[in-house]
């Protein structure tokens, strides 16, 4: 009997010791060192048509960096669907990369975890100063009044992509500038038997980007000035309803798009099955699907009236990718040098060209490559009529809660159930109640 008890006691002791170390493992409070100055791990977000395509773009640049500094960069391209969870795991365990890409809308949420190196004046000075970056891009690097949690790497904006031939066939001479023009054009296109506009009704982030623009155009915001969710404001309700009505009432978005979540609407557009697409920097994607560049035109996303500009004429969220350094990196100097390299004028031009994005670094924007008509639209949008998504710690929860509400409303519209002010308000109320009390 004794030996059993001994074994049991030993086992319990061991388990407690393990539990204790497990607790300790969570406390990744180390604040960076230079213990391994020769290597870096970099998690790149999947930007191109595939992970392989990204490796082809990035590898030569990383080799260039190694030649210049002697620092070897281990690259891992992480698909979007995994990225947030991977970052979360790395944050909890403290076992993450040294440098990583984050979606710029997550900046404030990730900033709140305290896992990312804050970019104060001292750190910014190491990469050439804060003034090198466009103000709009800096607007989505963290909560206001705090040192940014990341620096901008690629900037993107939404635009209206339209199929020139389908437009000509329907007798439309120029792309719509307002939503009512879009609906009118859509009806003409539909009369020709072609689907007018694509959407990704079951993709939560896509839904958020669009209803955010509609909210801005209605003079509303999803959060109050002090960062509290305010989803049931009548203007917000109107804005969300206007977007869903493109399917429910105006019927310019086909019902089938309600279940799209895998960029099927981009394929539909690339295959010429659909006349218009509201998308961010789609050129590379369309090209990889075999659509030639002269087959489509790019115009600003429509507004309610007039032309895009400041104030309520916002027509795109500030989209893009930021670059962050994990606070507990073992190669702090190397990580900073790598960020400096990636945000240098030279690399900014190479990388943003490869991804058909706009450089958030002002001096690189001047390159003629970004003055082509398609990128010019995106550049103008970013400069004059784009707004940062709410930079609040609960941004990622907001994307899920409101994105799901819009998804459900699209499902209602697709099933032929009425989408009313009341039903929109009810869904948004539910979304608001799911937000953490902050």
């Amino acid at each position: 009997m004794r030996s059993i008890r001994a074994a049991a006691v030993g086992a319990v002791t061991l388990s407690l010791a393990l539990a204790a170390t497990a607790c300790g493992g969570g406390s990744a409070t180390g604040s960076g060192s230079n213990d391994s100055p020769k290597t870096l791990t970099y998690w790149a977000s999947n930007q191109g048509a595939s992970i392989e395509a990204d490796k082809k773009v990035l590898r030569p640049e990383l080799d260039k960096f190694e030649q210049r500094t002697g620092i070897k960069v281990e690259l891992e391209v992480v698909p979007w669907s995994d990225l947030l969870n991977r970052i979360l795991t790395a944050t909890t365990s403290g076992q993450g990369p040294d440098v990583l890409n984050i979606g710029n809308t997550w900046s404030a949420s990730l900033q709140a975890s305290g896992a990312l190196l804050p970019w104060d004046e001292k750190n910014f000075a190491k990469i050439g100063g804060r003034d090198r970056f466009a103000e709009t891009a800096l607007g989505s690097t963290g909560a206001q009044g705090k040192d940014p949690a990341a620096v901008p790497l690629y900037s993107m904006a939404y635009a209206l992509y339209y199929n020139k031939k389908i437009f000509a066939d329907a007798g439309i001479s120029k792309p719509p500038a307002t939503w009512s023009e879009l609906v009118a054009d859509g009806k003409k296109i539909k009369a020709e038997g072609v689907s007018p506009l694509g959407a990704e009704g079951a993709n939560l982030s896509e839904n958020i980007h669009h209803v955010f623009v509609f909210a801005k155009q209605h003079g509303a915001d999803f959060f109050t000035a002090d960062g509290k969710p305010d989803f049931t404001d009548p203007k917000v309700v109107d804005a969300v309803k206007s977007y869903v009505d493109l399917m429910a009432k105006d019927k310019v978005i086909p019902a089938g798009d309600a279940e799209y979540a895998q960029n099927q609407s981009v394929s539909d557009f690339a295959k010429g099955k659909q006349a218009m697409l509201l998308w961010q920097t789609a050129s590379a994607n369309l090209k990889s699907q075999g659509m030639s560049e002269d087959a489509y035109g790019i115009a600003p996303v429509p507004v309610i009236s007039g032309t895009p500009g400041d104030g309520t004429q916002v027509n795109s969220p500030v989209m893009g990718i930021n670059m962050a350094v994990f606070k507990n990196t073992d190669n702090l100097d190397g990580a900073t040098r790598f960020v400096k390299f990636m945000t240098s004028d030279e690399e900014q031009k190479i990388l943003n060209k490869a991804y058909s994005a706009i450089p958030p670094v002002k001096s690189a924007q001047a390159d003629p490559a970004f003055a082509a008509p398609d990128t010019a639209v995106l550049k103008d949008t970013l400069a004059t009529s784009a707004a940062a998504l709410p930079q609040v710690a609960s941004e990622s929860q907001f994307e899920t809660a409101v994105g799901t509400a819009v998804k459900d409303l699209f499902a209602d519209a697709a099933a032929g159930r009425p989408v009313t002010t009341g039903s929109v308000e009810a869904k948004l109320q539910k979304a608001q109640q799911q937000m953490p009390a902050a």
């Binding site: 059993i4 074994a7 969570g26 710690a393």
Partner: protein
């Protein structure tokens, strides 16, 4: 700290054993050997199940959000707060949890019932020898052998509104619906989920019941046939009662698997399932990993664990009592 507190008894025990050792050298080894052999399994069980479970329970009492995930030990205690939020059925979080609980119960009962029914029917049917039986049996097991992700993503393609096979057959060919239905969003998603779950689950029932059938002596059937029992009577009076112990385990395992199934809904619907198919497992995943409220997520997991323990315990008690009664 805790380590030192436990060290003392260990030393006592080992010194006690050492004191007795010279008297009967072989005995101690003989007694302790089985336990020593069990030790690795015991340790692994601790590491893989018990330790994470204890950590999960601790987490359920903490206010663990994105502000604390980096160092979760420092998250403030919230006492029973997370549990109160989870079971406050008038408030949104509790209401949604209750809704998803009822969806899961309905889904599980239907899925397990259908899996069992189809699996048993197929097994009984396959008892008779006929040409091609081996091939058919192998085909039956295909869903069980396929990787879950591959199978479910294929189903997701087939359920698509515009190009999916399901609408093509139901609408275009059989004209059963007046317009193509949505299967991956809205109310029909429940039936889509149920279909995939049953498709995936019944081969297991088939396999287990087939194994159970092998143990029924053929003489019973011969005797029954001599007494003039028909096929249905033989199934009812011999097959089903003999399968009872097998079925008890089968139903329990299917129940636990189906109730906790995460892969099927997640692959089919992504991180936010339609309300009609919002299973508890995905719901808890969403609370924890999508809205980053790990404390509430853990509390919900503990509640679910308690529920499953009660149900499983009750089931085992009932069935063992039934068996004892049958033995008498």
């Amino acid at each position: 700290m805790t380590t030192t507190a436990f060290k003392e008894p260990v030393r006592q025990a080992s010194s006690g054993a050492a004191a007795r050792a010279p008297r009967r050298p072989g005995r101690l080894r003989r007694i302790s050997l089985p336990y020593l052999l069990l030790l690795p399994a015991l340790l692994l069980e601790l590491l893989v199940h018990l330790v994470p479970m204890v950590i999960g329970i601790v987490m359920s009492f903490k206010e663990l959000t994105q502000f604390y995930i980096r160092d979760w030990g420092t998250a403030p205690w919230s006492g029973l707060g997370n549990y109160q939020v989870s079971v406050d059925f008038d408030a949104p979080v509790g209401e949604a949890l209750l809704h998803s609980f009822f969806v899961t119960v309905g889904f599980t009962l239907l899925s397990v019932g259908l899996c069992w029914l189809i699996g048993t029917a197929a097994a009984v049917f396959m008892q008779d020898t006929f040409r091609g039986r081996g091939l058919l049996r192998a085909l039956f097991l295909v869903p069980y052998a396929l990787p879950v992700y591959t199978a479910v993503i294929t189903w997701a393609f087939m359920f698509q509104h515009d190009n999916g096979l399901v609408n093509h057959v139901l609408h275009d060919q059989l004209h059963l619906t007046d317009k193509p239905s949505f299967w991956l969003i809205g109310d029909n998603s429940f039936y889509a989920l149920l279909t995939v779950s049953v498709w995936k689950g019944w081969p297991f029932a088939f396999l287990i019941v087939t194994a159970g059938l092998q143990n029924i002596p053929g003489e019973l059937y011969e005797a029954a046939a001599l007494d003039g029992a028909g096929t249905w009577q033989r199934v009812r009076r011999i097959t089903l009662p003999s399968l009872r112990p097998v079925n008890q385990v089968l139903v329990l395992v299917l129940f636990l698997w189906t109730f906790n199934d995460f892969n099927t809904p997640y692959v089919l619907f992504g991180r936010s399932a339609p309300e009609a198919a919002d299973l508890v497992s995905v719901h808890i995943y969403q609370a924890s990993f999508v809205t980053w409220n790990f404390g509430t997520g853990s509390a919900m997991s503990v509640l679910l664990l308690l529920f499953l323990l009660v149900v499983t315990g009750g089931y085992l008690l009932l069935t063992s009592r039934g068996r004892r009664a049958a033995d008498v």
